[in-house]
Symmetry: C2
Subunit: 296 residues, 2 copies
Protein backbone atom coordinates (compact mmCIF):
# COMPACT_ATOMS: atom_id res chain seq x y z
CA UNK A 1 0.00 0.00 0.00
CA UNK A 2 2.72 2.47 0.98
CA UNK A 3 4.22 2.10 -2.51
CA UNK A 4 1.45 4.29 -3.86
CA UNK A 5 2.23 7.05 -1.40
CA UNK A 6 4.28 10.12 -2.22
CA UNK A 7 6.60 11.71 0.33
CA UNK A 8 7.13 15.42 0.93
CA UNK A 9 9.90 16.85 3.06
CA UNK A 10 9.98 20.51 4.08
CA UNK A 11 12.90 22.24 5.80
CA UNK A 12 11.60 25.67 6.76
CA UNK A 13 14.02 28.13 8.37
CA UNK A 14 14.20 31.83 9.03
CA UNK A 15 15.46 32.69 5.56
CA UNK A 16 14.56 29.82 3.19
CA UNK A 17 12.02 27.05 2.86
CA UNK A 18 13.30 23.99 1.01
CA UNK A 19 10.98 21.28 -0.27
CA UNK A 20 11.46 17.88 -1.89
CA UNK A 21 8.72 15.64 -3.30
CA UNK A 22 9.61 12.00 -3.87
CA UNK A 23 8.09 8.60 -4.44
CA UNK A 24 8.05 6.15 -1.57
CA UNK A 25 10.84 4.27 -3.35
CA UNK A 26 12.99 7.38 -3.29
CA UNK A 27 12.73 8.85 -6.78
CA UNK A 28 12.85 12.66 -6.57
CA UNK A 29 9.88 14.25 -8.37
CA UNK A 30 10.47 17.90 -7.58
CA UNK A 31 12.56 20.29 -5.46
CA UNK A 32 12.09 23.95 -4.62
CA UNK A 33 13.37 26.80 -2.45
CA UNK A 34 11.15 29.69 -1.35
CA UNK A 35 11.21 32.35 1.38
CA UNK A 36 11.19 32.23 5.22
CA UNK A 37 8.97 29.61 6.89
CA UNK A 38 9.86 30.10 10.56
CA UNK A 39 6.60 29.75 12.49
CA UNK A 40 7.61 32.72 14.66
CA UNK A 41 6.91 34.91 11.63
CA UNK A 42 3.26 33.86 11.86
CA UNK A 43 1.31 30.92 10.52
CA UNK A 44 0.28 32.82 7.36
CA UNK A 45 3.77 33.77 6.15
CA UNK A 46 5.21 30.39 7.15
CA UNK A 47 2.61 28.29 5.34
CA UNK A 48 2.63 30.63 2.37
CA UNK A 49 6.34 29.76 1.85
CA UNK A 50 5.60 26.06 2.41
CA UNK A 51 2.76 25.88 -0.12
CA UNK A 52 4.58 27.99 -2.67
CA UNK A 53 7.37 25.40 -2.49
CA UNK A 54 4.87 22.52 -2.72
CA UNK A 55 3.37 24.15 -5.82
CA UNK A 56 6.80 24.34 -7.47
CA UNK A 57 7.41 20.64 -6.69
CA UNK A 58 4.05 19.67 -8.21
CA UNK A 59 4.77 21.73 -11.34
CA UNK A 60 8.14 20.04 -11.80
CA UNK A 61 6.61 16.62 -11.35
CA UNK A 62 3.68 17.41 -13.73
CA UNK A 63 1.42 15.85 -11.12
CA UNK A 64 -1.95 17.46 -10.47
CA UNK A 65 -2.61 18.84 -6.99
CA UNK A 66 -4.96 15.96 -6.18
CA UNK A 67 -1.83 13.87 -5.58
CA UNK A 68 -1.32 15.67 -2.27
CA UNK A 69 -4.09 13.42 -0.94
CA UNK A 70 -1.72 10.47 -1.36
CA UNK A 71 1.27 12.36 0.05
CA UNK A 72 2.73 11.91 3.52
CA UNK A 73 4.38 15.18 4.48
CA UNK A 74 6.91 16.07 7.13
CA UNK A 75 6.98 19.83 7.71
CA UNK A 76 10.14 20.54 9.67
CA UNK A 77 9.76 24.17 10.65
CA UNK A 78 11.84 26.54 12.75
CA UNK A 79 9.72 27.78 15.65
CA UNK A 80 7.88 24.46 16.02
CA UNK A 81 9.85 23.98 19.25
CA UNK A 82 7.43 26.48 20.80
CA UNK A 83 4.31 24.53 21.87
CA UNK A 84 2.01 27.43 20.94
CA UNK A 85 3.36 27.63 17.39
CA UNK A 86 3.34 23.84 16.99
CA UNK A 87 -0.27 23.58 18.15
CA UNK A 88 -1.37 26.35 15.78
CA UNK A 89 0.40 24.65 12.86
CA UNK A 90 -1.17 21.29 13.71
CA UNK A 91 -4.64 22.80 13.87
CA UNK A 92 -4.37 23.96 10.26
CA UNK A 93 -6.29 21.95 7.67
CA UNK A 94 -3.65 20.19 5.58
CA UNK A 95 -4.20 18.78 2.08
CA UNK A 96 -1.98 15.77 2.72
CA UNK A 97 -2.86 12.15 3.48
CA UNK A 98 -0.89 12.57 6.69
CA UNK A 99 1.09 15.50 8.05
CA UNK A 100 3.91 15.31 10.58
CA UNK A 101 5.07 18.64 11.97
CA UNK A 102 8.35 18.92 13.81
CA UNK A 103 11.23 21.33 14.24
CA UNK A 104 13.86 21.89 11.57
CA UNK A 105 16.42 20.96 14.24
CA UNK A 106 14.85 17.54 14.79
CA UNK A 107 14.85 16.90 11.03
CA UNK A 108 18.46 18.05 10.80
CA UNK A 109 19.43 15.58 13.55
CA UNK A 110 17.63 12.71 11.77
CA UNK A 111 19.19 13.82 8.47
CA UNK A 112 22.66 13.86 9.99
CA UNK A 113 22.57 10.57 11.92
CA UNK A 114 19.57 8.56 10.73
CA UNK A 115 18.49 6.18 13.44
CA UNK A 116 21.74 6.48 15.40
CA UNK A 117 22.48 8.70 18.41
CA UNK A 118 24.00 12.07 17.67
CA UNK A 119 23.75 15.78 18.17
CA UNK A 120 23.56 18.70 15.80
CA UNK A 121 24.14 22.40 16.08
CA UNK A 122 22.11 24.36 13.57
CA UNK A 123 23.80 27.68 12.85
CA UNK A 124 21.82 29.59 10.29
CA UNK A 125 19.62 32.64 10.65
CA UNK A 126 19.00 31.27 14.16
CA UNK A 127 20.86 28.76 16.32
CA UNK A 128 19.79 25.64 18.18
CA UNK A 129 21.36 22.47 19.52
CA UNK A 130 19.52 19.15 19.32
CA UNK A 131 20.48 15.63 20.23
CA UNK A 132 18.89 12.21 20.21
CA UNK A 133 20.27 9.68 22.72
CA UNK A 134 18.52 6.32 23.15
CA UNK A 135 15.41 7.77 21.56
CA UNK A 136 15.36 10.74 23.96
CA UNK A 137 15.56 14.18 22.40
CA UNK A 138 17.41 17.01 24.12
CA UNK A 139 17.35 20.60 23.02
CA UNK A 140 19.48 23.61 23.96
CA UNK A 141 19.05 27.21 22.76
CA UNK A 142 16.93 28.05 19.77
CA UNK A 143 14.74 30.51 21.62
CA UNK A 144 14.72 33.02 18.78
CA UNK A 145 15.28 36.77 18.71
CA UNK A 146 15.14 39.09 20.56
CA UNK A 147 16.14 37.03 23.61
CA UNK A 148 18.33 34.29 22.22
CA UNK A 149 19.76 32.68 19.04
CA UNK A 150 23.23 33.68 20.20
CA UNK A 151 25.94 32.98 17.65
CA UNK A 152 23.52 32.88 14.71
CA UNK A 153 23.71 34.97 11.56
CA UNK A 154 20.88 37.19 12.78
CA UNK A 155 22.53 37.64 16.18
CA UNK A 156 25.86 38.50 14.53
CA UNK A 157 24.27 41.05 12.21
CA UNK A 158 22.50 42.75 15.10
CA UNK A 159 25.64 42.85 17.24
CA UNK A 160 27.60 44.40 14.38
CA UNK A 161 24.95 47.02 13.67
CA UNK A 162 24.72 47.99 17.32
CA UNK A 163 28.47 48.68 17.24
CA UNK A 164 28.10 50.96 14.22
CA UNK A 165 25.97 53.18 16.45
CA UNK A 166 28.59 52.94 19.21
CA UNK A 167 31.28 54.01 16.75
CA UNK A 168 29.12 56.91 15.52
CA UNK A 169 28.73 57.96 19.17
CA UNK A 170 32.49 57.74 19.68
CA UNK A 171 32.02 54.98 22.23
CA UNK A 172 34.28 52.61 20.26
CA UNK A 173 36.67 53.09 17.34
CA UNK A 174 35.64 52.74 13.73
CA UNK A 175 36.96 49.71 11.88
CA UNK A 176 36.70 48.83 8.17
CA UNK A 177 33.74 46.53 8.98
CA UNK A 178 31.86 49.28 10.80
CA UNK A 179 32.54 51.82 8.04
CA UNK A 180 31.34 49.36 5.41
CA UNK A 181 28.11 48.65 7.29
CA UNK A 182 27.57 52.36 7.93
CA UNK A 183 27.98 53.09 4.21
CA UNK A 184 25.17 50.56 3.55
CA UNK A 185 22.93 52.96 5.45
CA UNK A 186 24.18 56.10 3.69
CA UNK A 187 26.24 56.95 6.79
CA UNK A 188 23.01 57.86 8.60
CA UNK A 189 22.51 56.49 12.13
CA UNK A 190 18.81 57.31 11.96
CA UNK A 191 18.49 55.07 8.91
CA UNK A 192 19.96 52.25 11.01
CA UNK A 193 17.49 52.88 13.83
CA UNK A 194 14.54 52.93 11.40
CA UNK A 195 15.69 49.76 9.66
CA UNK A 196 16.50 47.96 12.91
CA UNK A 197 13.06 48.66 14.38
CA UNK A 198 11.39 46.70 11.57
CA UNK A 199 14.14 44.22 10.65
CA UNK A 200 13.39 40.49 10.66
CA UNK A 201 15.95 37.86 11.71
CA UNK A 202 16.57 37.28 8.00
CA UNK A 203 17.32 40.99 7.55
CA UNK A 204 19.80 41.00 10.43
CA UNK A 205 21.30 37.79 9.10
CA UNK A 206 21.95 39.45 5.74
CA UNK A 207 24.67 41.52 7.47
CA UNK A 208 26.56 38.50 8.81
CA UNK A 209 28.60 37.82 5.68
CA UNK A 210 30.26 41.23 5.96
CA UNK A 211 31.42 40.31 9.48
CA UNK A 212 32.76 36.97 8.24
CA UNK A 213 34.63 38.63 5.36
CA UNK A 214 36.13 41.41 7.48
CA UNK A 215 37.20 38.93 10.16
CA UNK A 216 39.01 36.99 7.44
CA UNK A 217 40.93 40.17 6.56
CA UNK A 218 41.88 40.80 10.18
CA UNK A 219 39.37 43.50 11.18
CA UNK A 220 39.70 43.67 14.98
CA UNK A 221 36.03 44.14 15.75
CA UNK A 222 34.86 41.54 13.20
CA UNK A 223 37.34 39.12 14.75
CA UNK A 224 35.99 39.81 18.23
CA UNK A 225 32.41 39.25 17.04
CA UNK A 226 33.30 35.94 15.35
CA UNK A 227 35.00 34.86 18.58
CA UNK A 228 31.89 35.80 20.58
CA UNK A 229 29.63 33.94 18.15
CA UNK A 230 31.87 30.88 18.24
CA UNK A 231 31.94 30.92 22.06
CA UNK A 232 28.15 30.73 22.05
CA UNK A 233 28.28 27.77 19.65
CA UNK A 234 30.95 26.11 21.81
CA UNK A 235 28.58 26.49 24.78
CA UNK A 236 25.83 24.66 22.89
CA UNK A 237 28.34 21.92 22.03
CA UNK A 238 29.26 21.49 25.70
CA UNK A 239 25.60 20.99 26.61
CA UNK A 240 25.01 18.51 23.79
CA UNK A 241 28.02 16.46 24.82
CA UNK A 242 26.72 16.53 28.41
CA UNK A 243 23.45 15.09 27.04
CA UNK A 244 25.37 11.95 26.16
CA UNK A 245 26.32 12.19 22.48
CA UNK A 246 29.81 11.56 21.22
CA UNK A 247 29.30 12.87 17.70
CA UNK A 248 28.20 16.35 16.69
CA UNK A 249 27.37 17.78 13.29
CA UNK A 250 27.49 21.50 12.59
CA UNK A 251 24.81 22.34 10.04
CA UNK A 252 23.04 25.43 8.71
CA UNK A 253 24.17 28.09 6.27
CA UNK A 254 26.34 29.92 8.79
CA UNK A 255 28.15 26.79 9.99
CA UNK A 256 31.07 26.82 7.54
CA UNK A 257 31.85 30.47 8.39
CA UNK A 258 31.88 29.72 12.12
CA UNK A 259 34.04 26.62 11.91
CA UNK A 260 37.47 28.33 11.91
CA UNK A 261 36.57 30.15 15.14
CA UNK A 262 35.34 27.17 17.16
CA UNK A 263 37.27 25.70 20.08
CA UNK A 264 39.51 22.72 19.36
CA UNK A 265 37.40 20.73 21.83
CA UNK A 266 34.27 21.40 19.76
CA UNK A 267 36.04 20.62 16.48
CA UNK A 268 37.29 17.31 17.86
CA UNK A 269 33.66 16.16 18.28
CA UNK A 270 32.48 17.24 14.83
CA UNK A 271 31.65 14.67 12.18
CA UNK A 272 30.25 15.15 8.70
CA UNK A 273 26.47 14.72 8.66
CA UNK A 274 25.11 11.93 6.45
CA UNK A 275 22.44 14.22 5.10
CA UNK A 276 20.74 17.52 5.78
CA UNK A 277 17.44 18.63 7.33
CA UNK A 278 15.59 18.04 4.06
CA UNK A 279 16.89 14.47 3.97
CA UNK A 280 15.79 14.13 7.58
CA UNK A 281 12.30 15.49 6.85
CA UNK A 282 11.89 13.01 3.97
CA UNK A 283 13.13 10.20 6.21
CA UNK A 284 10.55 11.19 8.86
CA UNK A 285 7.85 11.30 6.16
CA UNK A 286 8.88 7.81 5.00
CA UNK A 287 8.76 6.50 8.57
CA UNK A 288 5.26 7.95 8.99
CA UNK A 289 4.16 6.34 5.71
CA UNK A 290 5.58 2.96 6.75
CA UNK A 291 3.79 3.19 10.09
CA UNK A 292 0.50 3.96 8.30
CA UNK A 293 1.04 0.86 6.18
CA UNK A 294 1.68 -1.27 9.26
CA UNK A 295 -1.53 -0.01 10.87
CA UNK A 296 -3.49 -0.72 7.64
CA UNK B 1 0.40 89.96 25.65
CA UNK B 2 2.24 86.85 26.86
CA UNK B 3 0.60 87.25 30.25
CA UNK B 4 -2.62 85.88 28.79
CA UNK B 5 -0.88 82.77 27.52
CA UNK B 6 -0.95 79.43 29.29
CA UNK B 7 2.06 77.10 29.26
CA UNK B 8 1.98 73.32 28.90
CA UNK B 9 4.97 71.07 29.51
CA UNK B 10 4.98 67.42 28.53
CA UNK B 11 7.67 64.88 29.46
CA UNK B 12 6.85 61.75 27.50
CA UNK B 13 8.99 58.66 28.06
CA UNK B 14 8.79 54.96 27.39
CA UNK B 15 6.72 54.22 30.50
CA UNK B 16 5.02 57.45 31.61
CA UNK B 17 3.83 60.75 30.19
CA UNK B 18 3.89 63.63 32.66
CA UNK B 19 2.10 66.91 32.02
CA UNK B 20 1.93 70.27 33.75
CA UNK B 21 -0.31 73.20 32.79
CA UNK B 22 0.62 76.61 34.21
CA UNK B 23 0.04 80.30 33.78
CA UNK B 24 2.76 82.37 32.16
CA UNK B 25 3.51 83.77 35.60
CA UNK B 26 4.17 80.25 36.88
CA UNK B 27 1.03 79.29 38.77
CA UNK B 28 0.40 75.55 38.35
CA UNK B 29 -3.13 74.84 37.08
CA UNK B 30 -2.98 71.07 36.66
CA UNK B 31 -0.64 68.09 36.64
CA UNK B 32 -1.10 64.53 35.37
CA UNK B 33 0.69 61.26 34.66
CA UNK B 34 -0.49 58.84 31.97
CA UNK B 35 1.04 55.96 29.99
CA UNK B 36 3.95 55.67 27.53
CA UNK B 37 4.45 58.51 25.02
CA UNK B 38 7.68 57.44 23.28
CA UNK B 39 7.23 58.30 19.59
CA UNK B 40 8.82 54.97 18.67
CA UNK B 41 5.60 53.33 19.88
CA UNK B 42 3.76 55.14 17.06
CA UNK B 43 2.22 58.57 16.74
CA UNK B 44 -1.22 57.28 17.79
CA UNK B 45 -0.23 55.71 21.12
CA UNK B 46 2.17 58.56 21.93
CA UNK B 47 -0.33 61.37 21.32
CA UNK B 48 -3.07 59.41 23.00
CA UNK B 49 -1.02 59.49 26.24
CA UNK B 50 -0.21 63.17 25.71
CA UNK B 51 -3.82 64.26 25.18
CA UNK B 52 -5.13 62.08 27.98
CA UNK B 53 -2.72 63.96 30.26
CA UNK B 54 -3.76 67.32 28.80
CA UNK B 55 -7.40 66.42 29.48
CA UNK B 56 -6.62 65.66 33.13
CA UNK B 57 -4.82 69.02 33.48
CA UNK B 58 -7.80 70.87 32.00
CA UNK B 59 -10.19 69.05 34.33
CA UNK B 60 -8.12 70.00 37.37
CA UNK B 61 -7.94 73.62 36.27
CA UNK B 62 -11.69 73.71 35.47
CA UNK B 63 -10.75 75.45 32.24
CA UNK B 64 -12.68 74.58 29.09
CA UNK B 65 -10.74 73.01 26.23
CA UNK B 66 -10.92 76.23 24.21
CA UNK B 67 -8.09 77.50 26.42
CA UNK B 68 -5.65 75.30 24.50
CA UNK B 69 -5.85 77.95 21.76
CA UNK B 70 -4.04 80.33 24.14
CA UNK B 71 -1.56 77.67 25.32
CA UNK B 72 2.06 77.41 24.26
CA UNK B 73 3.05 73.77 24.55
CA UNK B 74 6.42 72.06 24.69
CA UNK B 75 6.04 68.35 23.99
CA UNK B 76 9.31 66.73 25.06
CA UNK B 77 9.00 63.20 23.76
CA UNK B 78 11.35 60.21 23.76
CA UNK B 79 11.95 59.17 20.16
CA UNK B 80 11.87 62.78 18.85
CA UNK B 81 15.63 62.45 18.32
CA UNK B 82 14.76 60.39 15.24
CA UNK B 83 14.10 62.86 12.39
CA UNK B 84 11.34 60.68 10.91
CA UNK B 85 9.43 60.56 14.21
CA UNK B 86 9.97 64.26 14.84
CA UNK B 87 8.69 65.21 11.38
CA UNK B 88 5.61 63.00 11.80
CA UNK B 89 4.86 64.59 15.18
CA UNK B 90 5.29 68.09 13.79
CA UNK B 91 2.94 67.38 10.89
CA UNK B 92 0.11 66.58 13.31
CA UNK B 93 -2.57 69.22 13.72
CA UNK B 94 -2.13 70.58 17.24
CA UNK B 95 -4.83 72.44 19.20
CA UNK B 96 -2.30 74.81 20.79
CA UNK B 97 -1.44 78.43 20.01
CA UNK B 98 2.11 77.24 19.40
CA UNK B 99 3.68 73.81 19.73
CA UNK B 100 7.38 73.10 20.28
CA UNK B 101 8.38 69.46 19.92
CA UNK B 102 11.73 68.26 21.20
CA UNK B 103 13.26 65.23 22.87
CA UNK B 104 12.73 64.40 26.51
CA UNK B 105 16.53 64.44 26.84
CA UNK B 106 16.74 68.05 25.66
CA UNK B 107 14.03 69.07 28.14
CA UNK B 108 15.82 67.17 30.91
CA UNK B 109 19.05 69.06 30.13
CA UNK B 110 17.26 72.43 30.21
CA UNK B 111 15.46 71.36 33.39
CA UNK B 112 18.73 70.38 35.04
CA UNK B 113 20.88 73.37 34.08
CA UNK B 114 18.57 76.10 32.77
CA UNK B 115 20.53 78.38 30.45
CA UNK B 116 23.92 77.14 31.63
CA UNK B 117 26.16 74.52 30.03
CA UNK B 118 25.77 70.99 31.31
CA UNK B 119 25.17 67.40 30.42
CA UNK B 120 22.61 64.86 31.48
CA UNK B 121 22.33 61.13 31.36
CA UNK B 122 18.74 59.93 31.23
CA UNK B 123 18.50 56.42 32.64
CA UNK B 124 14.90 55.29 32.57
CA UNK B 125 13.15 52.79 30.36
CA UNK B 126 15.74 53.88 27.76
CA UNK B 127 19.08 55.67 28.06
CA UNK B 128 20.54 58.72 26.36
CA UNK B 129 23.23 61.29 27.03
CA UNK B 130 22.69 64.95 26.13
CA UNK B 131 24.76 68.05 26.61
CA UNK B 132 24.54 71.73 25.77
CA UNK B 133 27.83 73.61 25.47
CA UNK B 134 27.87 77.19 24.21
CA UNK B 135 24.43 76.65 22.73
CA UNK B 136 25.56 73.53 20.85
CA UNK B 137 23.72 70.33 21.64
CA UNK B 138 25.50 66.99 21.65
CA UNK B 139 23.83 63.62 21.93
CA UNK B 140 25.19 60.16 22.63
CA UNK B 141 23.21 56.90 22.70
CA UNK B 142 19.45 56.86 22.92
CA UNK B 143 18.96 54.78 19.81
CA UNK B 144 16.23 52.65 21.37
CA UNK B 145 15.69 48.91 21.46
CA UNK B 146 16.48 46.48 19.91
CA UNK B 147 19.86 47.96 18.92
CA UNK B 148 20.77 50.26 21.76
CA UNK B 149 19.60 51.83 25.07
CA UNK B 150 22.38 49.96 26.83
CA UNK B 151 22.26 50.30 30.61
CA UNK B 152 18.56 51.24 30.68
CA UNK B 153 15.84 49.51 32.65
CA UNK B 154 14.52 47.87 29.48
CA UNK B 155 18.00 46.71 28.50
CA UNK B 156 18.60 45.30 31.97
CA UNK B 157 15.29 43.43 32.00
CA UNK B 158 16.02 41.88 28.61
CA UNK B 159 19.55 40.84 29.60
CA UNK B 160 18.24 39.20 32.76
CA UNK B 161 15.48 37.35 30.95
CA UNK B 162 17.90 36.06 28.31
CA UNK B 163 19.97 34.56 31.13
CA UNK B 164 16.94 32.77 32.57
CA UNK B 165 16.83 30.84 29.27
CA UNK B 166 20.59 30.20 29.50
CA UNK B 167 20.14 28.80 33.02
CA UNK B 168 17.22 26.62 31.86
CA UNK B 169 19.53 25.32 29.10
CA UNK B 170 22.26 24.61 31.65
CA UNK B 171 24.52 27.14 29.95
CA UNK B 172 24.94 29.11 33.17
CA UNK B 173 24.09 28.43 36.82
CA UNK B 174 20.80 29.38 38.41
CA UNK B 175 20.90 32.22 40.91
CA UNK B 176 18.12 33.52 43.18
CA UNK B 177 17.44 36.33 40.67
CA UNK B 178 17.04 33.90 37.78
CA UNK B 179 14.80 31.57 39.81
CA UNK B 180 12.62 34.50 40.87
CA UNK B 181 12.23 35.72 37.27
CA UNK B 182 11.53 32.18 36.06
CA UNK B 183 8.82 31.76 38.69
CA UNK B 184 7.16 34.91 37.26
CA UNK B 185 6.69 32.89 34.07
CA UNK B 186 5.42 29.75 35.83
CA UNK B 187 8.85 28.15 35.30
CA UNK B 188 8.03 27.79 31.60
CA UNK B 189 10.70 28.86 29.09
CA UNK B 190 8.11 28.93 26.30
CA UNK B 191 6.10 31.49 28.26
CA UNK B 192 9.24 33.66 28.32
CA UNK B 193 9.72 33.32 24.57
CA UNK B 194 6.07 34.20 23.90
CA UNK B 195 6.16 37.18 26.22
CA UNK B 196 9.52 38.41 24.93
CA UNK B 197 8.36 38.34 21.31
CA UNK B 198 5.65 40.92 22.06
CA UNK B 199 7.20 42.80 25.01
CA UNK B 200 7.58 46.58 24.82
CA UNK B 201 10.53 48.44 26.35
CA UNK B 202 8.24 49.26 29.28
CA UNK B 203 7.52 45.54 29.75
CA UNK B 204 11.22 44.65 29.77
CA UNK B 205 11.86 47.58 32.10
CA UNK B 206 9.34 46.19 34.58
CA UNK B 207 11.84 43.38 35.31
CA UNK B 208 14.70 45.74 36.20
CA UNK B 209 13.73 46.28 39.83
CA UNK B 210 14.21 42.56 40.54
CA UNK B 211 17.78 42.83 39.26
CA UNK B 212 18.43 45.89 41.42
CA UNK B 213 17.03 44.18 44.51
CA UNK B 214 18.92 40.93 43.99
CA UNK B 215 22.16 42.79 43.34
CA UNK B 216 21.65 44.56 46.66
CA UNK B 217 21.44 41.13 48.34
CA UNK B 218 24.63 39.93 46.67
CA UNK B 219 23.24 37.77 43.83
CA UNK B 220 26.29 37.15 41.61
CA UNK B 221 24.49 37.44 38.29
CA UNK B 222 22.45 40.48 39.32
CA UNK B 223 25.69 42.10 40.45
CA UNK B 224 27.33 41.37 37.12
CA UNK B 225 24.35 42.85 35.24
CA UNK B 226 24.36 46.03 37.35
CA UNK B 227 28.10 46.35 36.66
CA UNK B 228 27.49 45.92 32.93
CA UNK B 229 24.68 48.49 32.98
CA UNK B 230 26.81 50.95 34.93
CA UNK B 231 29.73 50.48 32.53
CA UNK B 232 27.45 51.52 29.66
CA UNK B 233 26.38 54.61 31.65
CA UNK B 234 30.02 55.39 32.43
CA UNK B 235 30.74 55.23 28.69
CA UNK B 236 28.02 57.83 28.02
CA UNK B 237 29.52 60.01 30.76
CA UNK B 238 32.96 59.82 29.14
CA UNK B 239 31.53 61.05 25.83
CA UNK B 240 29.58 63.88 27.46
CA UNK B 241 32.67 65.09 29.29
CA UNK B 242 34.58 64.93 26.01
CA UNK B 243 31.87 67.19 24.54
CA UNK B 244 33.07 69.92 26.91
CA UNK B 245 30.81 69.84 29.95
CA UNK B 246 32.14 69.83 33.48
CA UNK B 247 28.86 69.01 35.22
CA UNK B 248 26.64 66.01 34.67
CA UNK B 249 23.23 65.17 36.08
CA UNK B 250 21.94 61.61 36.24
CA UNK B 251 18.17 61.66 35.78
CA UNK B 252 15.39 59.20 34.96
CA UNK B 253 13.64 56.65 37.11
CA UNK B 254 16.48 54.12 36.94
CA UNK B 255 19.20 56.62 37.87
CA UNK B 256 19.13 56.18 41.66
CA UNK B 257 19.43 52.39 41.30
CA UNK B 258 22.45 52.72 39.01
CA UNK B 259 24.30 55.25 41.10
CA UNK B 260 26.03 52.82 43.53
CA UNK B 261 27.51 50.93 40.57
CA UNK B 262 28.96 53.88 38.65
CA UNK B 263 32.68 54.57 38.38
CA UNK B 264 34.18 57.02 40.84
CA UNK B 265 35.20 59.15 37.86
CA UNK B 266 31.56 59.44 36.76
CA UNK B 267 30.33 60.13 40.29
CA UNK B 268 32.89 62.92 40.70
CA UNK B 269 31.24 64.81 37.81
CA UNK B 270 27.66 64.39 39.03
CA UNK B 271 25.71 67.34 40.37
CA UNK B 272 22.11 67.56 41.50
CA UNK B 273 19.85 68.82 38.70
CA UNK B 274 17.97 72.09 39.38
CA UNK B 275 14.80 70.60 37.98
CA UNK B 276 13.52 67.71 35.91
CA UNK B 277 12.42 67.21 32.30
CA UNK B 278 8.95 68.54 33.05
CA UNK B 279 10.50 71.74 34.47
CA UNK B 280 12.62 71.91 31.32
CA UNK B 281 9.63 71.46 29.03
CA UNK B 282 7.77 74.26 30.81
CA UNK B 283 10.85 76.47 30.60
CA UNK B 284 11.05 75.81 26.84
CA UNK B 285 7.33 76.59 26.51
CA UNK B 286 7.86 79.87 28.40
CA UNK B 287 10.79 80.78 26.16
CA UNK B 288 8.64 80.10 23.07
CA UNK B 289 5.85 82.27 24.52
CA UNK B 290 8.28 85.09 25.26
CA UNK B 291 9.65 84.93 21.75
CA UNK B 292 6.11 85.10 20.31
CA UNK B 293 5.53 88.19 22.42
CA UNK B 294 8.73 89.80 21.13
CA UNK B 295 7.70 89.12 17.54
CA UNK B 296 4.22 90.55 18.23
Amino acid sequence: MEKNLLLLGIDGGGTHCRARLATYAGQILGEAVTGPANLRLGLGPSFSSVFEAVGHCLNQSKLPRANLARTVACLALAGASEPRHLAAAQEQKHPFHKTVITTDAHAACIGAFGERDGGIIVAGTGTVGWSIVNGQTYRVGGWGLPLSDEGSGAWLGGEALRRVLWAWDGRISWTPLLRALFANFDNDPHAIVDWGAAASPRDFGSLAQAVVDHAASGDALATELMQLAAAHIDALAVRLIASGVTRLALVGGFGPSLRPWLATKTLSQLVEPEGDALDGALRLARAAAASLARVA
